[in-house]
């Protein structure tokens, strides 16, 4: 038998093009312009982000060691990313030891096929689901549907989104773009047997959802969940939630299938001490979330008797190989960066075209799925979806420096694009600004812009590509004289001398009188 040397393993793959939910159909500016026309969305986002910002600030300010906690969170995540292969193998061994089965999925297609197979093996045509970003990322519900399996979302907001055939727009509050009246109508249309007199008060809406969901909890024998944390040391998995519907899914069915991104692993059980403080305070602005479920493999006679853990890569190894991606993988999906982001607040989550919206989405999505998988890849516009205002970095519980990562991603994007009109313009600008003589000549040319201005000295229309500026802003005509020209003039010298003479030390004995 001959053996073939296959060489070094190929670079780990990004999430393949066209699979899952890591790429929109339009570029960010196009999608954003569309979303900006949605007044309901803007009003909801405005109200919700403000409420949550205030709550988060209150519960983070009250902890004397909040900054130390953030530093500890960042340190633990950095350690975990540095030891990822070893920790994952440890996690696999521990879960297996405790009676669970571990599966490895390279991408969305593999993970979807795995879960489908596992569900099919139980004979059930239905599954109940705990809110999970990983399964949203791989498009699991759509895949199950195509295989004749119905997935019921049980998180209230996810349920609303699912019943409306919509997509989530926020990591934590997936239906943030809907109001109560819309929800009432969705329930009336889509929940079988709902009281036709249903009111839009929150308690009634919640009761209608509860009645519907309870029936599912009691009858569906398979649940699919994500995981917030997976502990390598013990093989323990954890889901953190507010409603208790997750707890129902994690404890009632016979079979539990958990899909977890490989970056969710933590080295030690004790690390939860840090993250169970950081996460609820950053995400919902609560001191502690109402339900924290921890489970380790299978416990005979208690809870699911058949447990499967699907470890999902889908571009994560590729991200890990890049310093930008490695830092972005530290994200614990608290959504604090979304809630403080002025761009997200205006355009909402759908504009980002990915399961992961907002500032971290603008970094993570390009890292997981790439930015140049096709011509005019919408993901290439994401790194520019930020003013670099820095509010996200201040809020992040694991101190991910998102603005710097965005600047680095922009650099990667331009390096990959090669020649472009923009690069030529940047080159030209740098060439002029790098040569003082050319620069002063260009400044004189800029002053010619005065003729574009009206009598009031304002320019209110510019040709493309700068036309976007003058849609909402005037430009003041360039001044007659630059600063350097003033500085070199007699007037400038006199003015500076006069200012210097005002300094007390000098005014006591002005030059002329000395």
């Amino acid at each position: 038998m001959s053996s073939t040397f296959l060489g070094m393993p190929a670079a780990p793959p990004r999430s393949p093009y066209g699979a899952g939910n890591l790429r929109g159909e339009r570029t960010f500016p196009e999608a954003a312009a569309h979303e900006l026309g949605n007044d309901q969305l803007r009003a909801n986002l405005h109200r919700a982000t403000r409420t949550i910002r205030a709550k988060r600030l209150a519960v983070t300010a009250e902890l004397p060691d909040w900054e130390e906690l953030r530093a500890a969170g960042a340190a633990v995540k950095n350690e975990a990313m540095g030891r990822l292969p070893e920790l994952l193998e440890q996690l696999e061994a521990k879960v297996t030891e405790a009676g669970g089965t571990v599966h490895w999925a390279r991408d969305a297609a593999e993970a979807n096929a795995l879960v489908t197979e596992l569900v099919a093996a139980t004979g059930s045509r239905e599954v109940i689901k705990v809110k999970s970003m990983a399964t949203q990322e791989i498009g699991l519900n759509e895949h199950l549907e195509s295989q004749g399996i119905t997935a019921h979302e049980t998180d209230l907001a996810e349920l609303i989104v699912q019943l409306a055939d919509d997509r989530p727009s926020h990591i934590l509050v997936p239906a943030i773009h809907r109001n109560r009246e819309e929800i009432r109508r969705i329930f009336l249309e889509r929940i079988p047997g709902v009281d036709p007199g249903l009111d839009s008060v929150p308690a009634e809406l919640a009761a209608a959802a509860r009645a519907y969901l309870r029936e599912k909890f009691m009858s569906v024998p398979v649940a699919v969940s994500g995981a917030n944390f997976g502990i390598a040391e013990t093989g323990t998995l954890s889901v953190v939630e507010s409603e208790g519907n997750g707890r129902m899914c994690l404890t009632l069915p016979r079979t539990l299938i958990t899909v977890m991104g490989i970056e969710k692993v933590l080295p030690r059980y004790a690390d939860l001490e840090v993250f169970l403080q950081l996460l609820p305070r950053s995400s919902t602005g609560e001191r502690m979330n109402p339900y924290t479920t921890l489970w380790t493999g299978v416990t005979p006679g208690d809870g699911p008797q058949d447990f499967h853990l699907v470890l999902l890569d889908n571009g994560r190894t590729a991200a890990l190989a890049d310093p930008i991606g490695r830092e972005a993988l530290n994200c614990i999906r608290c959504s604090a960066c979304l809630n403080v982001c002025p761009v997200y607040e205006r355009v909402g989550g759908h504009a980002y075209g990915s399961t992961y919206p907002g500032p971290i989405g603008a970094v993570l999505t390009p890292q997981l799925a790439g930015t140049h998988a096709a011509k005019n890849d919408p993901n290439a516009s994401l790194p520019y979806a930020s003013t670099l205002c820095g509010a996200c970095y201040d809020a992040c519980p694991v101190k991910i420096d998102i603005p710097s990562l965005l600047v680095e991603l922009r650099h990667q994007t331009t390096e990959r694009t090669g020649r472009s009109a923009e690069r030529l313009a940047m080159k030209a600008a740098a060439a002029v600004m790098g040569r003082p003589k050319l620069y002063t000549t260009a400044q004189r040319a800029a002053a010619i812009g005065r003729i574009a201005a009206g009598r009031d000295g304002k320019i209110s229309h510019l040709p493309p590509p700068l036309g976007g500026w003058t849609e909402s802003r005037d430009i003041t005509a360039p001044p007659r004289r630059t600063f350097r020209a003033w500085y070199a003039s007699q007037e400038g010298r006199d003015a500076l001398a006069a200012a210097a003479a005002e300094h007390p030390a000098d005014t006591e004995m002005p030059e002329e009188e000395r």
Binding site: F28, A32, A385, S404, L496
Partner: protein, 255 residues
């Protein structure tokens, strides 16, 4: 002290009044202004748009112009340009520069200050003898606030101004939507952010909206001009430079 003044390309070319005010203010406080005539641009726009090779000559020029050891501090009326010098010059030098550039950048970076930092931290001055009898609101630009962490230094300087009627800007720390090329690449979103900022400014009834960065002021001022607002923008330096003997007069006439 000998103070190197960096005008910034935007200030030098489009907003010379703010740079002039910075120069006059520092001179009035008893320090010598040095203006290296071959200075140009810090390269912030290049780096923030994703270009790091192109601005190498700019980074080098900046380090050379202000490297002179007899210059005690480099001051500029722009928080974002200081942010660029502090955080992005080392990055560019590390990646695309040589050893000489790296050491040059490190030396200049450590003596570079945004105007309010220079006044409060280096000169230990909050009352700079200014007189400005107008209603003013202050917008803390994002780079000053978060990247440099200037905190309430600009406000402390403003509170000490004689005659000023300083009113708080609601949601002051919200970004105005400028973001350099963001304002053009994502014009619709930038405009939505600007609208909210303009509404908040209008609610203060201030005659002047001030900030420490001409770039954000260009954006906000352009918006105020478009809606024919009664509020105008003015750089923080122009307020601090105004005195009883040389009060602020709108300089449109000199344009």
């Amino acid at each position: 002290m000998r103070i190197g003044l960096f005008a910034t390309c935007l200030g030098d070319t489009l907003f010379p009044d703010a740079v002039r005010a910075t120069a006059l203010l520092v001179a009035r406080l008893g320090h010598e202004i040095v203006f290296p005539p071959d200075q140009t641009c810090c390269g912030q726009m290049h780096v923030n748009t994703g270009y790091q090779r192109e601005p190498v000559p700019l980074v080098r020029n900046f380090a050379e112009q202000f490297g002179d050891a007899s210059i005690d501090a480099v001051v500029m009326p722009s928080g974002s340009c200081v942010g660029c010098v502090r955080h992005q010059h080392p990055l560019v030098a590390d990646r695309y520069g040589d050893a000489a550039l790296r050491s040059g950048v490190a030396a200049v970076r450590d003596k570079t200050y945004e105007l309010s930092e220079f006044l409060v931290d280096v000169l230990d001055a909050t009352d700079v003898g200014a007189y400005f009898p107008h209603r003013v609101t202050y917008h803390p630009t994002c780079h000053s606030l978060r990247m440099l962490g200037v905190g309430d230094k600009p406000l402390r300087l403003l509170r000490a101004v004689e005659g000023i009627d300083l009113v708080e800007l609601p949601e002051a720390d919200a970004c105005c939507g400028f973001g350099g090329t963001f304002a053009v690449k994502n014009a619709a979103t930038s405009t939505a952010m600007l609208r909210d900022k303009l509404d908040h400014i209008a609610s203060t009834d201030a005659a002047v909206c001030t900030a420490g960065d001409s770039s954000c002021l260009m954006h906000i001022g352009g918006g105020l001009s478009r809606i024919r607002s009664g509020t105008r923008t003015l750089h923080l330096a122009e307020i601090l430079a105004a005195t009883r003997t040389a009060p602020y007069v709108p300089l449109e006439t000199t344009r």
